[in-house]
Amino acid sequence: MDILSLLGNGFAVALTPENLFLALMGCFLGTLMGALPGLGPANGVAILIPIAFSLGLGPTSSLILLTSVYYGAMYGGRISSILLNIPGDEPAMMTCLDGYPMATQGKAGEALSLSGFASFIGAFFATCGLVLLAPQLVKIALLFGPAEYFVLFTVAFATLGGITATNQAKSAFAAALGLGIAMIGSDSQTGSQRFTFDHIHLYDGIDFLIAIVGLFALSEVFIFLENHKSKNTNQTITPKVGRILPDFKMIGRCIPTMARGTGLGFFAGVLPGAGASLGSFLAYSLEKQTVDREGKTFGKGDPRGVAAPEAGNNAASGGALVPMLALGVPGSGTTAVLLAVLLQLNITPGPLLFTKNPDVVWGLIAALFISNFILLAMNIPLVGLFTRVLMVPTRILMPVVAMISFVGIYSITGSTFDVMLMVGFGVAGWVLRKLDVPLVPVILGILLGNQMEVNMRRAMTISDGDWSVFFSSPLAIILWVIAIAGFVLPMIYGRRIREGMKNTDAGV
């Protein structure tokens, strides 16, 4: 087995003491960030990229650290869902529905250990799926020429709004904004200065890390500043965890539930524009349809209602890595941030990554397996430690987050101009969020803009200026159909799915 020997090499890379330690740290920090409301996986990874980079870690080590944070945050989101009824991150929303009722019945410990186990099952099998599916996708991707790549990037932008997009024009606007920002700086093909207005700080373009940290992390601080008076931020409820030992009978009863959740979640993760939130939503609704048609136990603390969405969202987070690694096109905000990690390390994801840097890919995949086991170990016995972190009031936490963002950006750029630019992105992010303009397409536009343009220009050079090159191969036409469908379908079906999500949410 070719894959097995590659994976074996990967384990050899991932099992060095340094990488193992980084995985451990990443898992711990990730769980922490996932558990804290307001600090999701995308924020967590975004803040840590500049720090990992200025520590001078090698590509594989940085990737191991940051993907462990990614997986850890996915595990951690459930903790505050269950204990406080506040989702730690967006995909953990569905876990509130049955997790919090379980906690109020004094079964918080069982809910936490069960959901930890469900997370493990979801993430573990999704990583297996990644191992099997990604190389297959690479084979297809090797058939892509510049024209197909250009269309593929279009697919990414068209589907990014996702099934739940409220206003596709706003997603398109956001994408164009990101692409427009990416154009700033000297043109990679001809060297012409574009949009720099002879401003020396702009000659190299705008570093995408500045945009990411500003848009994600700082805008969160602004949102919090705006809302802290209306919300009750001083949680006075002391969550009682109860017995932490997992109830193996209950876990056993939930295994079919986890299997269904994992399958659906992985599928939702691989699809462009779906992501972990939809994965957990689908897993929860399907489970409710299958085992509790009359709605007798779901929403009232049914353990299966905790296991399904957790398996779903963790499987989706593994699935989302498939298009990111194999095609270089992320389908969600968090994987867009992971793409930023790769680009920062001068690694171009996509089919060539698997042939050129097999040690990076397989080391990463092996690290995912390892971090899964670390997370399982960390999340069941140590869950009490993480619940204590939830006691830290957000009014102290948020400024710390802001300062760490500043430290990261300053340590890689060392320039006041860049730090001010980050503040500017933070304010812009806040305004865009208020106006319901999604931020992920902006980020993706900044990340992919140059590659998208380069591919367009290469295709045009090959065809000698004939625009029909973008419609000339069957593969390109299929991709166009996907792009158009992905853009138009949400306008038709989006409202129904959104309402479904809202009703399930309100029906507690």
């Binding site: 705006e226 102290i396 948020m398 006041t416 304010v427």
Partner: protein, 143 residues
């Protein structure tokens, strides 16, 4: 109404962008498409979306009341000031005040906020500079 203003703003941005793209100078190297084609497409998408916002605006978002709004303006000012102060005063001193301001505005008693600022600053300095070796801003006193 907010969406209409946003659309108007977006349209201005698009026009500015297309204008800025039109004055890109050619260099001695040329390819078939040139450096202006892709920016034109991006500008066009911006313009079309902006017109859509003007014609079919969404529901009004919940804008904060004047007080929360001024909070954000002041916080932005403090962060910009912080960015300016970093190389002037050094990391430790600037961070104490920036953190203290934010913590205070988020509802901590002023004295406690100052203490939090001090602890955060020293904590970050210890972890990121002394232990992990990141380069932080150096002021006149070397920290």
């Amino acid at each position: 109404m907010s969406d209409r203003i946003f659309g108007g703003f977006g349209l201005l941005l698009a026009i500015f962008y297309i204008w800025a793209a039109s004055i890109i100078k050619d260099s001695f190297m040329v390819d078939v498409v040139g450096p202006r084609a892709f920016p034109y497409i991006v500008g066009a998408v911006l313009a079309i979306c902006s017109i859509y916002f003007i014609v079919r605006p969404d529901d009004e978002p919940e804008w904060p009341a004047f007080r929360s709004f001024s909070e954000i303006v002041f916080a932005t000012a403090v962060m910009l000031l912080y960015a300016w102060a970093l190389p002037e005063l050094g990391f430790l001193i600037s961070t104490v005040f920036a953190t203290a301001y934010l913590t205070w505005r988020l509802g901590t008693e002023p004295l406690w906020a100052l203490l939090t600022g001090l602890l955060t600053s020293v904590g970050i300095y210890t972890v990121f500079h002394l232990i992990l070796g990141l380069s932080l801003a150096k002021g006149p006193f070397g920290f």
